[in-house]
Assembly symmetry: D2
Homo-oligomer: 247 residues x 4
């Protein structure tokens, strides 16, 4: 089983009728419903206004992959919770950051950059082109995903050199964007996925959900638990050998 925690800011859906009409109960509720059919997922929900934003030590320690949607209230996320999430990612928890989450504290913390971009809200057509078809995140997807209407995000997107640029978006109004990007940090995997503006029904698109399901499976830690995660003062050669083997 893959333990998935969906974190949603959950403010737009409470404040604006237009958004609530698209996502009654919130974006997290829609995602949770979509994930129900995945028999290898165990889904949990957390939102900004819960104590500790729903991200206690217990919850995070029991999470394989965290999904993050935030927008208007990035600044309200407490630094100590950001520290905690960052620590868990570096220890091996996967994280999938959606759309306006590019400007969240946790994403900027993991990236080390401004994460700036250019944008426009104009109900534009978006096409996400697959540029790395060998990647498991693209399995079962068309050569491109088309969304009839989305917010535009454009380059230059101020992110560190990606491990892989998996999708590049085309927008009707004349821009491009690296819209599906992976990194690893510490023992954890990161996937940024651009679509998902609150005012469009993007998470009703079956291919978008398929990408997220693929990404969750990819992001779950499957590496080496014996490599030290803490600084280590070691002895030379033969002595170190013993240390390394006794796990």
């Amino acid at each position: 089983m893959i333990k998935v925690t969906i974190w949603n800011e959950f403010r737009h859906e409470k404040k604006e009728k237009k958004i609530a009409d698209i996502y009654p109960g919130g974006i997290h509720k829609k995602l949770a419903e979509e994930f129900k059919s995945q028999t290898d997922f165990e889904v949990r929900i957390a939102t900004l206004d819960e104590p500790e934003h729903g991200l206690s030590e217990e919850v995070l320690n029991d999470t394989d992959v965290l999904i993050w949607w935030g927008h208007m209230a990035h600044s309200e996320v407490e630094d100590r919770i950001v520290d905690r999430v960052q620590k868990r990612v570096l220890e091996g928890m996967g994280i999938i950051v959606l759309h306006s989450g590019h400007y969240s504290k946790i994403f900027k913390r993991l990236m080390g950059t401004t994460c700036n971009l250019i944008w426009r809200e104009a109900d534009e057509k978006e096409r996400l082109w697959v540029v790395e078809p060998f990647h498991p995140i693209t399995q079962g997807i068309s050569p491109y995903i088309e969304l009839a209407q989305e917010e535009m995000y454009g380059e230059r997107f101020d992110i560190p050199e990606p491990d892989k640029v998996i999708f590049i978006s085309w927008f009707e109004g004349g821009e491009v964007f690296r819209s599906g990007v992976t990194w690893t940090r510490g023992f954890g995997k990161i996937f940024y996925f651009r679509p998902g503006h609150e005012s469009y029904p993007t998470f009703y698109n079956k291919e978008i959900i398929k990408v997220l399901c693929n990404a969750i499976r990819w992001a779950k830690f499957a590496g080496n638990i014996s490599v030290p995660k803490e600084p280590l003062n070691v002895k030379p050669l033969e002595k170190l050998k013993i240390l390394a083997r006794e796990k």
Copy 2:
């Protein structure tokens, strides 16, 4: 099931008693025996002196992951077979190139570089340090693998920028080497793994075998089959949509 084809040059083992004593029946036989316990592997063998070097269209089309060990007879591998293997890798077959295979036609073809390095045979201790512990190829391995005696390969290794450097080797005599390296080319995954000189019992080491088993599982294609593999003259926008979706 993962269909694994082990290709071995199989010359040293026939010509030199010292080598035959270590690997009676050949390196490929030893590897095949080790892989038997893996219930998800279906193993086949191919060697240089068979017709088409054992790599007919039928065999390659029925192979998920090809393992390649060669050394003294690289030049005897026919170019048309190299073409065939390269084509299959670019279509999605994984390939794992071992040790002196760094100088094989197929590896140089996929890399585009000379694949030169410095070397020495002096029965030296080697340590392969894990530098990317998040990677599935390192799962279940110690912080480093130690081999009591191996041939030394040293930098500068003339390879293209790796996707990931997973192991870096330390040698007693004073050198280092990027000894576990991944790339993707086309739809196929490539793993180069340095150890395995014919005159040492390297493939009796359980951790070395574990790395190979991990690498086989990683190298099997799990990507997107709908993305065109051939050049494609497309129509603008709406027409292209139909083309792309009808698969």
Copy 3:
């Protein structure tokens, strides 16, 4: 001085009046004229129909950066000349491959992949967005370069993982393309730059020329000449030291 050799296939310009009208004397002539104002360039020309395609050992050994434009006659380039160019790139000569050169023998040789893509000729607007503004190739360029009409090239472009994707193109008809990409192979630097279809006046665009001038300066070798370029059988520790220092 940077010794630049411009190689042009020079067939379209001789066979089609429409092309000759745009580039009288050939694309190479136009580029050479544009480069004249660069006081640090020393420019030479070579074309397919000259002996050895104009690329003798003498010419290549005296070239810092080679520019390559080819299209309809890729197959006529002799393999021994391709070998020679590849060898020089791996030794440190820079190479800039333009537009349809993506399908040239030399580019496919250096990449190891098919270099396939999708395409369309429909007089479309292209925008090349700068995605790596820290890179010297982008110096003095706008946030994007706009070309009123160009041939479309679209993803998936079957190239190895780039060192840097510097430009991403947007096309009116709905596609995107990694249109400015760098790699290193051996001691040599490679820049692929998409624009430059023979039927459009792309090389009259001042920003396109600026990119090429920047790329030429970037591609000139400025690295380490003491690192061995040939395989080397070395002695352990102290003895190797002597070898390495005595240059």
Copy 4:
């Protein structure tokens, strides 16, 4: 001219006679002396115990490349100064982080990871092997640099995927380390260089100084100043064009 600011914690040299004997006046003084012969450098010094740690807005705005040496007092560096340095790097100032600076606030901030490693002080021989000889940072250097005695740093070094691993170190006691590594973040270039423990005369080594001089020249911004550094709400197509061109 390249405006270089050398930042040194300058505590070991004041507290321990053994260190002061090696670097009278501090590590920064030694580096400044070495850089004097470089006619294209304009060198300034800053230390922890100065107001604002010597890194006022004025100083940073007038710095092309910042060098950072810190060790025992990382925690005393004020967060607002770290913010300021990070901002300048993202705007294009180069930064070269030396040795124990791997654990400084600014380096961890830019990396987003723990920057953990394993270490040992045992007067060991270190060899830094050049693995990317095409890179300007390696110009004029031997195939490897040998230091008779240094502190050992070993893998796994918890850093993000490097742009380029330029040097890999070998240590007598059995470890390896990625000891010369580049990244870009925002518009700025970063070079981490491992050697330089306070108790060894590493900065008296002419090749080490040569690497630093090369790195300073490489790290100076030479990119594109027209690309927006701030988030930008843009208009579609034609209107955006005006915005982009009018700089």
